[in-house]
């Protein structure tokens, strides 16, 4: 092979590699994570909720608490709530809406900043969790959360779901059903809304241009609750 041809082939290979390389990372995103793999920064899980479709039901709340073993004790002030329906009524116009509110899985979570032991943390793929092994129950994160998303477990817990450990004296909140997400499923609230509710919720990878959530966010306006705090939440709302 003469030098010119060798050089041409070399440049050609380099150009082909440069053209194909982005495709490899897309393939990585499209493939579901296997159990032996760690959560990756390439993904950012998010939720999109279209309030105009949010009916008066609370299928999401029931499904979440059923899936995660969050039981009440008849004490509404101290019972944990991982998700709740919030009713809004415009003070001037009287226009009424409802929306489900849960941990917003911020990119810059105030709860993570204030936790003294680092128990409140953000996983690489954007899910904000509480490491119950390290939580000392100081409740500083509950003070710090702008959305009131965190609950403190005020009594002993028994009959926990195997995938969702919960215990007295620690703080907890919506985990975006991380045990389901890691298996390639959607959170329980989204599944319930699509099955029994107004089909208002979409779950997906905010970094994946081909995901439905990405398309919906690109094609219609959406907002964050307390956007002024610049937390870049993973949960977005349409119709607010």
């Amino acid at each position: 092979m003469n030098p010119e041809r060798r050089q041409f082939l070399g440049w050609g290979a380099a150009a082909a590699g440069a053209a194909l390389a982005p495709g490899f990372s897309l393939i990585e995103l499209a493939r579901a994570r296997s159990p032996q793999e760690a959560a990756s920064k390439l993904q950012r899980w998010g939720l999109l909720i279209d309030i105009t479709k949010c009916a008066d039901c609370d299928a999401c709340v029931t499904a979440c608490h059923e899936e995660n073993g969050v039981t009440g004790h008849g004490r509404p002030e101290t019972d944990a709530q991982w998700i709740r329906k919030v009713s809004l009524r415009d003070k001037r116009t009287g226009y009424a809406q409802t929306l489900p509110l849960m941990c917003q899985h911020c990119e810059h979570p105030p709860c993570v900043d204030v936790c003294p032991t680092g128990a409140s943390f953000k996983r690489d793929d954007g899910i904000v969790l509480v490491d119950k092994h390290t939580c000392i129950g100081c409740r500083y994160c509950v003070m710090a959360c702008p959305y009131g998303a965190r609950s403190f477990v005020h009594e002993a817990v028994s009959g926990q779901k195997a995938d969702v450990p919960r215990g007295k004296g620690t703080v907890e909140s919506c985990t975006l059903c991380v045990h389901r997400v890691d298996r390639g499923e959607t959170p329980a609230c989204v599944a319930a809304c699509n099955r029994d509710g107004g089909k208002a919720m979409v779950f997906g990878d905010l970094n994946d241009a081909s995901a439905e959530i990405h398309r919906r966010l690109r094609s219609a306006p959406s907002s964050q609750v307390r956007a002024d705090l610049a937390l870049n939440t993973g949960v977005r709302y349409q119709g607010l």
Binding site: R123, A162, D182
Partner: protein
């Protein structure tokens, strides 16, 4: 002074003679009953499990919690699945696999404040 010291040493050695040198004897704490009811072998050799199970649990839990590593062989659920008692379905309680040894050794364990000690039945579906 020397006499007092000698007396103390003698008393300690006499008491030591009554100490347990191994083998069965009557005691107030039940000797652990380890009933392996399932499976041919654990995920690691028995000697290693006896020595290092706590280290393995700690390491695994941080991997699962912080990085989302969910290798099912090493998950707590899998341990409980094999080791839970046939009758009670739990690793706690009388003759419970975990509680039996821990009660004997007087080592408290924190795990089951939050984790369920019950084996999940296969028919239940989603959880594995």
């Amino acid at each position: 002074m020397m006499r007092i010291a000698a007396g103390i040493v003698a008393a300690v050695m006499a008491a030591a003679g009554f100490a347990d040198s191994g083998g069965p004897r009557a005691s107030r704490v039940a000797v652990p009953t380890v009933k392996i009811e399932k499976g041919e072998a654990c995920v690691a050799p028995t000697a290693q499990m006896r020595r290092d199970h706590m280290k393995m649990l700690l390491h695994q839990r941080d991997g699962t919690m912080r990085q989302g590593l969910r290798e099912t062989r090493f998950s707590l659920k899998n341990c409980i699945d094999c080791h839970a008692s046939r009758e009670t379905g739990s690793v706690l309680g009388k003759d419970g696999f975990c509680s039996s040894c821990h009660a004997y050794a007087a080592v408290s364990m924190d795990c089951f404040e939050c984790h369920t000690p019950l084996r999940q039945s296969r028919a239940a579906g989603a959880s594995r």
